[in-house]
């Protein structure tokens, strides 16, 4: 079957029936191309969103102060709820199941300068464990430590982008930068996997921020953040519920009031997104299988037309001494050859397009590394070829086994 002579016979028929060859090949190449694009895009979106989640610990609970929306104990709604240092200490000491816990006080657009370079950046006043929640990666030096907080040191940790803006290629560690008129010593530079935005942030000890920038009471906090280790969603929700009740008691608001404080439960969010991706994956597979089926039907259809068109030729060949096997193998080898080449082309085009997108969509959120599992791509190509050929085998077999006189009558 694989003798050179047979191949010459096949190449002769292929090169002399270009339209038929093109149509068969196009159906296959298009099907594979679409499948690759589809699977790749699905993966791209999933990778993009997962990347987004890398920004923060996925097992974290975030608490934000809010405004009461329900009257409670004779107090009208519309009261602002703000956290304080003692709340942070209480949760840290009394609530079980927390792993890392930290807090934040934010200063938006802090005017910053070093020598002639200036910029405005977000500055967060926080505690050492923040580094665990944010997932910051220390490139140089260290993060804010306990001593910094205890002694309200004027030290600062800056993001990579801030460092590039202010110091260019020069040394940053140990230098003093001016933030809103006060000099801070740079003790660390960090980067963040999540996004560049995170690298335009600066961190100072919470105590320093509260003291130096002189806010009322000097104990106020904007957020309290904590991680729950590997607690389940139910356990996490219980922790959130306990903390919510603590705040409700302390600040005298209705525990059912969803606006008095805001709770962001990343465990829950992550599970939601994960199950959403599960569904998207099912959906893409449904469409993918549909595409393959359509391709199979398309190939079978073309094969049937090919066989019909060649019935007379089959009759002639049989009259000249062709066995049914030689006829079926001629038609099928030709079809396998065309569909394999076309499938490969479709595969190549699809993968190339994904590669191109992947390289040119660096800055795009929610879409990253649109890739396909090569095994799946090859597997579906082979499946398409196999079933397509199987669809052509039946009519070929039938045409090859009818009496030659009937085949010869075909016009």
């Amino acid at each position: 079957m694989f003798e050179l002579d047979n191949w010459q016979e096949i190449f002769a028929t292929i090169s002399k029936n270009k339209l038929r060859t093109f149509l068969t090949g196009f159906a296959v190449a298009w099907g594979i191309f679409m499948l690759i694009i589809l699977l790749g895009s699905g993966n791209g979106i999933e990778n993009g969103v997962r990347e987004d989640f890398k920004d923060d610990a996925v097992n974290s609970l975030w608490f934000y102060g809010g405004t009461t929306s329900l009257p409670y104990n004779g107090i009208k709604e519309g009261r602002d709820i703000r956290f304080h240092n003692d709340d942070f200490e209480y949760i840290k000491e009394q609530i079980e199941g927390t792993e890392y816990i930290t807090n934040r006080r934010n200063i938006w657009n802090a005017a910053t300068s070093f020598k002639n370079e200036t910029g405005r950046y977000m500055m967060r006043c926080t505690t050492p464990e923040h580094v665990e929640l944010e997932g910051s990666i220390m490139d140089e030096g260290r993060f804010v430590n306990e001593d910094d907080v205890t002694h309200s040191r004027k030290v600062i940790v800056i993001g990579k982008q801030v460092r590039n803006d202010l110091f260019k290629d020069g040394n940053a560690l140990g230098e003093f930068i001016n933030v809103m008129g006060i000099m801070f010593k740079v003790v660390g530079v960090f980067s963040d996997e999540g996004s560049e935005r995170e690298e335009r942030i600066m961190y100072i000890p919470i105590s320093t921020g509260q003291t130096v920038f002189g806010w009322s009471g000097r104990t106020r906090l904007d957020n309290i953040l904590l991680t729950v280790g590997d607690a389940s969603l139910v356990e996490t929700s219980y922790i959130a519920w306990q903390i919510n009740n603590y705040f409700a008691r302390k600040y005298n608001f209705d525990p059912e009031d969803r606006r008095a404080i805001y709770i962001r439960n990343n465990v829950e969010n992550f599970q939601k997104v994960s199950s959403m991706f599960q569904n998207i994956r099912y959906f893409i597979w449904c469409i993918g299988i549909g595409t393959i089926l359509a391709g199979i039907v398309g190939i079978s259809n073309i094969m049937m037309i090919v066989v019909k068109e060649r019935t007379r030729e089959i009759g002639i060949r049989k009259a000249l001494g062709a066995t049914p096997f030689s006829i079926v193998s001629l038609i099928l080898t030709e079809a396998i050859f065309i569909t394999s080449i076309a499938g490969y082309i479709g595969l190549l085009l699809g993968v190339s397009l994904l590669e191109f997108l992947s390289n040119n969509l660096e800055g795009v959120d929610m879409f990253k590394n649109p890739q396909v599992d090569f095994k799946i791509a090859i597997g579906s190509t082979l499946m398409l070829i196999f079933f397509g050929i199987l669809g052509g085998f039946v009519p070929a077999q039938r045409a090859a086994s009818i009496e030659p006189v009937i085949a010869l009558r075909e016009e």
Binding site: D5, A12, R317, K318, A319, L320, G321, V405
Partner: protein
């Protein structure tokens, strides 16, 4: 060479079977040049197709070179067609995407003859039918007479024992018909049995024996041109 004993052939088109060949007994000797005539529907083409193992029959026996041809496997049928028989059709039945020389060489492809050798042999046979200069032409670039000569070369190349021709001159003018008949006679002189189905008296007159079919029955034999047999 060919022997039919009580052969019956039916076609099942509607509810009642059509009895096309009725108890046909026939013997054609080696090296004969025979024509079969009859009005349309007399079963002459069916008879030729059965002789060529292109069609099956229901009862009776058909011996080709002393081999019983009945309920053959497809493989065996293919082998017999390839080794014993050469076909000539009214509509030539050349493969339109193959050149003359490729068409002629095709039977040898199914015998497993290497490409070079079969193309060389095909050129010899094209020379025999005087078409050497058209070897690389496609059928569509050839006249009817030339196409039929290509078909004859193709029928001859496998060195068959019997040539079966179904209205070989039906689509040709009288001049080219004569050329084709001359070829048949030449082939016959080399010892190959030739059976021609025709409805033209001039063609039949050039054969050794004329078999007349009427309604599926052999009406009579006419022996003529004794000399060339």
């Amino acid at each position: 060479m060919i022997k039919l004993v009580g052969l019956n052939k039916y076609y099942y088109l509607g509810k009642t079977p059509l009895h096309v060949l009725k108890d046909v007994d026939l013997e054609i000797g080696s090296g004969e040049l025979v024509s079969i005539m009859g009005s349309s529907g007399s079963g002459k083409s069916t008879l030729l197709n059965i002789l060529g193992i292109l069609d099956s029959y229901q009862s009776g026996e058909y011996y080709l070179d002393n081999h019983l041809v009945k309920d053959l496997s497809q493989r065996k049928a293919a082998k017999y067609r390839n080794q014993f028989l050469g076909f000539i059709f009214q509509s030539f039945n050349l493969l339109n995407y193959k050149t003359a020389v490729e068409n002629v060489a095709l039977p040898l492809y199914y015998q497993g003859v290497p490409r070079k050798k079969r193309n060389a042999l095909a050129m010899e046979y094209l020379e025999k039918v005087n078409l050497l200069d058209r070897a690389e032409h496609l059928p569509s670039e050839l006249s009817g007479g030339q196409q039929q000569r290509v078909a004859i070369a193709r029928a001859l190349i496998a060195n068959p024992k019997v040539i079966l021709a179904d209205e070989p001159t039906g689509a040709l003018d009288s001049e080219t018909s004569n050329e084709v008949m001359n070829l048949f006679r030449m082939v016959n002189k080399e010892g190959i049995t030739v059976v021609i189905v025709t409805h033209e008296n001039e063609i039949a007159a050039q054969t050794d024996r004329l078999i007349r079919l009427r309604d599926g029955v052999i009406d009579h034999h006419v022996v003529q041109n004794q000399t060339s047999g």
